[in-house]
């Protein structure tokens, strides 16, 4: 038996490698080994005041810092029985969309496009004057710009606190943003077209794993319950009833699974689960790209996110600029959960506070932890019959990348 | 000094007559209560006599001023701004600050380039508990000065401004500026230089030195603080900007040289250095106090260090 190893995994966020065991010319086993060092956020949160949590957990991961911060604040608000002002809700939603746009643009144009073009990085594409690379970066900058407006800074936003937001974005900057968004709406479809063409992806078997996503009436990033593609709908705070976690010796990320086996979270899962909902983007049929369909789904979500951002900015502009944005907080004991969609899939934050408002327990489930088992299964399925070593590592890299994994998030699965 | 009476509404017509040729900036108190220099169109928009948090020096000596840009092998001066600035509704102490900065930067092309086109329209103020203007012998520099229903003309340029507005003016007279502007509120001890020289060991300095957090607020908001640092900004596109940036004698590295020798190693020494600069002046300006008594530093200081209190303490033997 021979082990072929793809190391390091590149053009993904975080450190890991893929180990593939080949026996008698056949791929026999695959492991996704996540070597990223655990940062033990639980030791860090326990005993700390509710006020400190949002800023700290955003440091779990830079790309998802906005959604971590919103998730923590929302979970704590539910623990403290708080309703946040409607305008604050909108600012948070805008922040999430900014993060969504930035993250998807980063993934598609900086991390995936080089695969489609056969280059090592986006730098070669820029050097060659590639229009898509250039415009993709501009789209990414737009996402960052939204995050900056709604979050106060691009990474580790400061605007979100338990109780609401610190302030509304300035009117002039919202107006300028709206114009920018309008201008993008015409450009975007042709820009993401390249990701919708299934011939650009390697041959693939259908994407594995029970789809899991936040369930909501329409298509949104937040909601109260979880929907599985097998039809189950579970209240968010019952997530532990349906998600099992298992530590595995080879990886610093724990595997999440459900009774039915591996789970798939992310853009593809979201769109599949939301099929038929009014504003949900519609996936092409048939989807011949297997897990690479996640890239297609991200492209579709980008168009949705831009539309949604336009709507929100208009609403913010129409709203009362002097309306309260922060609810008063009375610290105390409570338990709260938030289920939310990070760009790369379902994210769950759960906290218990003691009577002084200090963290007594914390649990965070991240999308890449959820996807880990599916990634391994998919690698095994897709790479059957591939024998040549460089093809094997090359294809493996592309498959892992298709999940848009966020490894620095994944090693912070907390459990107490 | 030439003075005229004017009628209600004159201020707006003055602004109107300035508008074609000037960018008009005036102190405006924002919704957050902070005064800033801002473009105005009508007199009612401005808070005349208010002290903007960051003083007027920023117009002639900006906090981050590009001295030159290097592109390839070619040095370029920054493009001069084409529209001259009119500062309107300026309190006397802020005008006095110009008198001082004009001396400091007499030879400085970047300062002079902005200063020469500057039109100053002063406005009388209502001194409050935090101000402590010293008595003055000379009127401050200005082109026009408005107080209640009279105006004063301080320059040929100011006089030119009035030609189009003659009809609005009446009762010309040769009058000094209103006394409250030049009289001041706080006396400075005669023998300040001696007092200061003998003060090095006083507990006063140690006490304020311990409290000071070196945040730099006092110098940033001081209308006559002008220490600067030169720093280069090179960018990947090959451009280099040499910038002149506001510095601060409170900062640890103000007198630090390579190898670690620091000529003002403690906060106490640095604090005393600042007060020496404010009260006694440096170099050719020795003996000229540059504190115009606006009270900004005391208001901005998070730990309530107040130059007027320090001065009083010095005069009274140096008790903290």
């Amino acid at each position: 038996m021979k082990t072929i190893s793809l190391q390091p995994l590149t053009r993904v966020e975080g450190h890991g490698r893929v180990e593939m065991k080949v026996q008698a010319g056949r791929l026999a086993a695959v492991r996704l080994v996540i070597t990223e060092s655990p940062r033990l956020f639980e030791g860090l949160l326990l005993g700390r005041s509710w006020q400190e949590v949002p800023a700290l957990v955003s440091r779990i991961c830079a790309i998802c810092s906005g959604v971590h911060r919103v998730a923590a604040a929302s979970a704590l608000e539910s623990a403290l029985g708080l309703q946040i002002p409607p305008m604050a809700r909108k600012v948070r939603a805008l922040l999430l969309l900014g993060g969504h746009i930035e993250s998807h643009a980063l993934h598609l144009f900086c991390l995936t496009l080089p695969d489609l073009a056969g280059t090592e990085s986006i730098l070669e594409l820029l050097r060659a004057g590639d229009r898509r690379a250039r415009e993709g970066l501009a789209l990414k900058a737009l996402g960052n710009h939204i995050q900056e407006l709604a979050g106060g800074r691009v990474i580790h936003p400061v605007n979100v606190e338990v109780g609401g937001v610190v302030r509304l974005p300035a009117r002039e900057s919202l107006e300028a943003l709206l114009a920018e968004l309008e201008e993008w709406s015409g450009r975007l479809p042709s820009l993401v077209e390249v990701f919708a063409d299934h011939r650009r992806y390697p041959p693939a078997t259908p994407a594995l794993g029970t789809r899991i996503a936040v369930d909501c009436d329409d298509f949104l990033l937040t909601g109260r319950s979880l929907r599985f593609s097998d039809g189950r709908v579970v209240a968010g705070d019952r997530y532990r009833d349906v998600l099992e976690e298992r530590a595995v010796p080879w990886s610093n990320t724990k595997h999440s699974r459900t009774a039915g086996g591996a789970l798939l979270a992310g853009a593809l899962a979201r769109l599949e689960n939301a099929a038929g909902r009014a504003s949900a983007p519609v996936l092409p049929e048939p989807l011949d790209a297997g897990i690479h369909g996640n890239n297609m789904a991200q492209g579709l979500e980008l168009r949705w996110a831009l539309r949604e951002a336009r709507r929100l900015v208009r609403e913010l502009l129409a709203g009362d600029a002097d309306a309260p944005v922060m609810a008063a907080v009375r610290p105390g004991a409570g338990v709260g959960t938030c289920v939310i969609e990070a760009p790369r899939g379902l994210l769950i934050h759960h906290y218990a506070l003691d009577d002084q408002g200090r963290v007594a327990a914390a649990d965070i489930v991240t999308p890449t932890a959820i996807n880990q088992a599916a990634i391994e299964a998919q690698l095994l399925a897709d790479l059957q019959g591939v024998t040549e070593e460089t093809a094997l590592t090359d294809r493996a890299g592309r498959i892992v990348r298709a999940y848009d994994p966020c490894i620095s998030c994944s090693v912070h699965v907390l459990r107490r | 000094m030439q003075s005229w009476a004017f009628q209600a509404g004159f201020e707006d017509r003055l602004l109107q007559s300035l508008r074609p040729n000037y960018r008009i900036l005036a102190p405006v108190r924002g919704a957050d209560g902070v005064g800033r220099l801002q473009p105005v169109r009508r007199w009612t928009e401005l808070s005349a006599g208010t002290l903007p948090l960051i003083p007027l020096k920023k117009v002639v000596f900006p906090p981050h001023d590009v001295l030159w840009t290097l592109l390839g092998i070619e040095y370029r001066e920054p493009a001069p701004s084409t529209v001259p600035v009119a500062l309107v509704g300026i309190a006397p102490c802020d005008l006095y600050a110009f008198a001082y900065l004009d001396l400091v930067f007499a030879d400085d092309p970047h300062y002079q380039r902005r200063r020469q086109g500057l039109l100053l329209v002063g406005s009388s103020c209502r001194p409050n508990a935090e101000c402590f203007c010293p008595p003055r012998r000379e009127p401050p520099p200005f082109d026009l000065f408005l107080a209640a229903d009279r105006l004063w003309v301080g320059s040929a340029c100011g006089e030119d401004m009035l030609t189009a507005l003659q009809e609005e003016l009446s009762s010309p007279d040769d009058l000094p500026l209103p006394a409250e502007i030049t009289d001041g509120q706080q006396q400075v001890p005669e023998n300040l230089e001696q007092l200061f020289g003998a003060s090095a060991g006083l507990p006063l300095w140690r006490e304020v030195g311990e409290r000071c957090v070196s945040c730099g607020a006092c110098s940033a908001v001081c209308p006559t603080c002008y220490c600067y640092e030169m720093s280069d900004e090179a960018l990947p596109d090959g451009r280099v900007n040499r910038r002149r940036e506001w510095d601060n004698c409170f900062f640890r590295n103000h007198a630090l040289v390579a190898g670690g020798q620091n000529f003002r190693p403690t906060r106490t020494e640095r604090l005393r250095f600042r007060f020496e600069h404010k009260m006694l002046g440096f170099g050719a300006l020795r003996g000229i106090s540059s504190c115009v008594g606006c009270g900004r530093c005391a208001r901005a200081c998070p730990v309530d260090i107040d130059i007027s209190a320090v001065l009083a303490s010095l005069a009274g033997g140096g008790k903290p």
Binding site: - | F105, Q112, C227, S231, L256, V257, Q261, F273, F282
Partner: protein
């Protein structure tokens, strides 16, 4: 005169690396810039920064020569640039040594370490009209024999009898060498003063070295009988603008960059914390 902030471009013509970390640079300027002994320029490496440096030669100004220590951020960047690289100069700044004060008198130069560089410019100026000054004595302390700047040149002058030279070194692994014309001792440069034979009332002294040197030498010279008005030292302070604006160098209310960096001991005594 208006202050000029734009540097005059200059090319690094040669780099003499004899003394480690104290290389001797020759720059060729696009426009001549005469710098008198004791005066200094601001040397820019565009994009990195600038630092003050004294001239080590007395020359017409088409070139600038300096001994530059690798001391920190900007000087290290200079060390990374090779011959042919372009830098920039602003200056000249400050008041140099008052050459007329030396006329008709003996000159006693006391150098510590890198302080030799500006004194070498002074020495060259004095040698240019050698007959105008009496005896020239140089006392020069270095860390170790390898750190002695301009060693061949100084030994040559001493051997020719043009000047008297005495070296001292803080450390030496071998016995210091001494020749007929000059001696070298282990110890501090101040110790060279002890048995020095000279006529204080007829002498003008120039001292340049690290701050610690000034603490002892300047008053020693006065005690030996040299008029404090005729003992000169150059002060080192943090400097940037060179024209008495930026305030870093101010000492006792005096802009060292403008009124100095060369001061007489009489002046220094009036300045709080100058030494």
């Amino acid at each position: 005169m208006t202050v000029a902030f734009q540097p005059v471009p200059a090319v690094i013509e040669t780099i003499d690396e004899t003394v480690a970390d104290n290389h001797f640079f020759t720059f060729r300027l696009a426009e001549p810039m005469p710098v008198a002994p004791g005066q200094f320029v601001e040397l820019s490496i565009p994009g990195v920064g600038a630092f003050p440096v004294s001239t080590a030669t007395h020359s017409g100004g088409a070139t600038f020569q300096a001994c530059i220590r690798r001391a920190g951020r900007v000087t290290s960047a200079l060390y990374r640039l090779g011959e042919g690289a372009t830098v920039g100069f602003r200056g000249p700044f400050g008041q140099g040594f008052p050459l007329e004060a030396f006329a008709g008198r003996d000159a006693l130069l006391v150098a510590g370490g890198l302080g030799m560089a500006p004194l070498r410019a002074l020495l060259q100026a004095l040698l240019e009209e050698r007959e105008r000054v009496g005896e020239i004595i140089l006392l020069y302390g270095s860390r170790d024999p390898d750190a002695i700047l301009f060693r061949d040149e100084l030994e040559g002058l001493a051997a020719a009898g043009t000047i008297k030279v005495r070296f001292s070194v803080d450390f030496a692994t071998e016995l210091p060498w001494s020749r007929e014309a000059y001696v070298c001792r282990i110890g501090l440069v101040t110790e060279l003063l002890r048995d020095l034979v000279f006529v204080p009332t007829k002498t003008v002294a120039a001292v340049c070295g690290p701050p610690s040197l000034y603490g002892c030498v300047l008053e020693d010279l006065a005690r030996l009988g040299i008029d404090p008005e005729r003992i000169f030292a150059t002060l080192e302070r943090r400097m940037q603008c060179g024209v008495g604006q930026c305030c870093h160098c101010v000492t006792a209310g005096v802009f060292v960059c403008r009124q100095g960096p060369v001061f007489s001991l009489a002046e220094l005594r009036r300045m709080e914390k100058a030494i």
